[in-house]
């Protein structure tokens, strides 16, 4: 909440002290960095590793780093990695087993003991974390591989000031300003007095603010902070009308548009790996060459692979059209049945990083438009 009671000011030079405080608390600090031509989340130990004065330009199938004419630390939109890479790692061991004569002895894996502080998460990424929370931490389930990492994570959000051409968080209500779910939330105020307006969202966040001895914010600071995200909300590159979207998509499961998008889609799975909410995983069984041991590893999987829907000798979704439909309708329709909200946060990664520039907002619009009401599917003979 932006109010003078709980809001403080961090000078731009103070970022280093914030990073030091996180390192001193034995966190691995994950923050945006320039690497391989993009700004992506990675480990840092000092604030000067942030992309200073760098920006980005994003469009369907296109990402370019740019130079800004200021010293902004967070003057760009999301890059290809999301917190998913740390909270739901691409590979996690489930168990290993040792052969014992005709039998075997399995041993459950335990979760690693590192914890992460995320600095510079965007509100859409925070929303992505909240959506994955609902998948892995439920009444009947606490997936330790996810939940242990999640419980120990510290989340420092930076509200968005400069959305990309592929951003549409404002349509999903997931940005450009985060309202809750963070430990600290920063608004970067540029100009003569380059500073951060800091909101406290948890006890852990309050402790950090106390340790850094941050001065309270003034009304002027707050209105400057509000102006940053108000501007951002008005400069979203894209939009998605969510009103009635689930019903329209479920009423258009046999839309001819899926065949059309399948002619463009490479079924590479890039969108699912980049997506901060996509949670599907596969199990990979392996064994020692001499048969003495075996292991199972949980790995990220993608509904775009032909093996994803394999059952006894065949794939259910053998066509790319069916796989695209599974992805789109899960994200924008059936996720709501499962978790009470849509599975998209409007970060635009799937649009930017699609090798052929397929745009989820455009496809969703087109599929709704070509809906064939009460389509009766052809049935095959038993």
């Amino acid at each position: 909440m932006l109010d003078v009671e709980t809001t403080h000011v961090l000078e731009v030079e103070g970022l280093e002290r914030l990073v030091e405080a996180l390192v001193a608390r034995d966190y691995d600090v994950v923050a945006p960095r320039v690497a391989d031509g993009a700004i992506a989340l990675d480990l840092i130990t000092h604030a000067d590793q942030l992309p200073i004065g760098r920006g980005d330009e994003q469009a369907p199938g296109r990402y370019r780093l740019t130079d800004r004419d200021d010293e902004a630390r967070f003057g760009y939109a999301v890059g290809p990695t999301s917190p998913k890479r740390w909270l739901l790692p691409p590979r996690s061991q489930i168990f290993q087993a040792t052969a014992e004569g005709d039998a075997f002895r399995p041993e459950a894996a335990t979760t690693p003991d590192r914890r992460h502080a995320f600095l510079g998460l965007r509100p859409c990424e925070l929303a992505g974390v909240a959506k994955q929370d609902r998948v892995f931490i439920r009444d009947d389930l606490r997936d330790a591989l996810y939940a242990d990492r999640r419980d120990q994570a510290l989340l420092i959000v930076v509200h968005c000031g400069d959305p990309a051409g592929t951003c549409f968080c404002a349509s999903l209500g997931t940005g450009p300003r985060a309202e809750a779910g963070f430990d600290l939330a920063l608004t970067e105020v540029l100009g003569e007095h380059h500073r951060f307006v800091v909101e406290v969202g948890s006890d852990a966040g309050a402790e950090l603010v106390a340790e850094l001895d941050l001065p309270p914010a003034t009304e002027a600071d707050l209105s400057a902070a509000r102006a940053v995200t108000d501007r951002a909300a008005d400069s979203m590159g894209r939009s998605l009308d969510t009103e009635g979207l689930r019903e329209d998509l479920l009423g258009a499961l046999e839309s001819p548009r899926y065949r059309d998008v399948a002619r463009r889609c490479l079924a590479c799975g890039s969108c699912t790996l980049l997506c901060p909410t996509c949670f599907c995983t596969g199990m990979v069984d392996s064994s020692e060459l001499d048969g003495s041991g075996a292991a199972r590893t949980r790995v990220w999987d993608s509904c775009f692979t032909i093996g994803f829907s394999y059952i006894h000798g065949q794939s259910i979704r053998s066509s790319v059209a069916a796989r695209y439909r599974q992805w789109l309708t899960h994200k924008l329709a059936t996720w709501a049945d499962q978790f009470g909200e849509l599975g998209c946060v409007g970060c635009g990664r799937c649009i930017t990083w699609c090798p052929v520039g397929i745009d989820i907002t455009e496809e969703a619009r087109a599929i709704r438009a070509t809906a064939v009401p009460q389509a009766v599917p052809q049935e095959d003979r038993p």
Binding site: D36, D42, M283, S287, A294, D301, C303, S309, G313, H330
Partner: protein, 296 residues
């Protein structure tokens, strides 16, 4: 993703003692010993498994276990045991891929891993007091065996009980000895058919769904359990609907690629359902729309 895959991770503070919990125990197979192997058909066996220690956890008919062949892999297999059998579990497995090949190559004394049971069972309790119609196609009779055994044991609790079973050929009929034993009862209709047969077969020839119109049951007090290939389930549901059984009383066991069993891996989704978690047993009212669409 290349942007981070190649970047170096600066070393930070050494790892400290934080919370480290084991993974969900439902994800780790429990070693079981093979007690018995019975051949059903050329490619199908029934095996009995017993945990190395203790008893198997209770299950309800229609639930699924994940069976693990050490070092090879794991597949979902319906529990086919008599539910009153508490010492061991039985599974009927058809050989179709590398994992089921390993699972069907076992001999007594070998060990397999088991985890489960997972999923929603057949609503046997809801069927009590009325007529029960079981329609099975091929290996689809395996998830129904426990239910049939439970219903026959408490035969008095039901009205008319019918089991309609179809296989591709006489040689593909599983549980043949049991079918003959059940058929000897005077209180239960066991109607068996095959898609095609040679001259040695004197039973029905034709699709199992064609048996529905001639089966004796009162539609408004009937519960139907259907399991088999998807086209067969669609036609069976259609035949039952045409007889006047309501979609809410027709239950099918739907199959997708179950991997985790606890509703997090996403593989077994069909429409809004995680079949390992919300299914595999769902009513036609819930799942019919989705089963009618190709490649969903």
């Amino acid at each position: 993703m290349t942007s981070t895959a190649t970047s170096t991770h600066p070393g930070t503070a050494p790892a400290s003692a934080q919370t480290a919990n084991p993974v969900d125990e439902r994800l780790v197979p429990v070693p079981h010993r093979v007690l018995e192997v019975r051949r059903e058909t050329a490619d199908t066996i029934t095996i009995a498994l017993q945990p190395r220690t203790g008893r198997p956890p209770p299950f309800a008919p229609g639930q699924v276990d994940m069976l693990y062949a050490f070092g090879t892999g794991e597949v979902p297999i319906s529990i086919a045991s008599d539910p009153t059998e508490t010492e061991h579990r039985e599974y009927t497995i058809r050989r179709v891929g590398p994992v089921t090949r390993a699972l069907t190559n076992v001999a007594p004394g070998d060990h397999l891993g088991v985890r489960g049971p997972f999923g929603v069972p057949w609503p046997v309790e809801e069927a009590r007091g009325g007529d029960l119609v079981v329609v099975a196609g091929g290996i689809g009779i395996a998830p129904l065996r426990a239910t049939i055994l439970a219903a026959l044991r408490e035969r008095h609790a039901f009205g008319a009980v019918s089991v309609l079973y179809g296989a591709r050929s006489p040689g593909d009929l599983v549980y043949r000895v049991e079918l003959e034993r059940w058929r000897a009862r005077l209180d239960t209709d066991i109607d068996v058919t095959v898609d095609s047969a040679g001259s040695g077969w004197h039973g029905n020839v034709g699709l199992v769904t064609r048996l529905v119109p001639r089966t004796r049951f009162e539609p408004d007090r009937t519960t139907a359990f259907v399991c088999g290939p998807e086209p067969m389930m669609r036609y069976a549901a259609q035949a039952l609907l045409e007889r006047g059984v309501s979609a809410a009383r027709i239950f099918v066991s739907a199959e997708r690629n179950m991997v985790c069993g606890i509703g997090t891996c996403g593989h077994c989704q069909l429409g809004p359902y995680f079949l390992c978690h919300h299914g595999p047993v769902l009513s036609w009212q819930e799942i019919g729309t989705y089963l009618r669409i190709r490649e969903l």
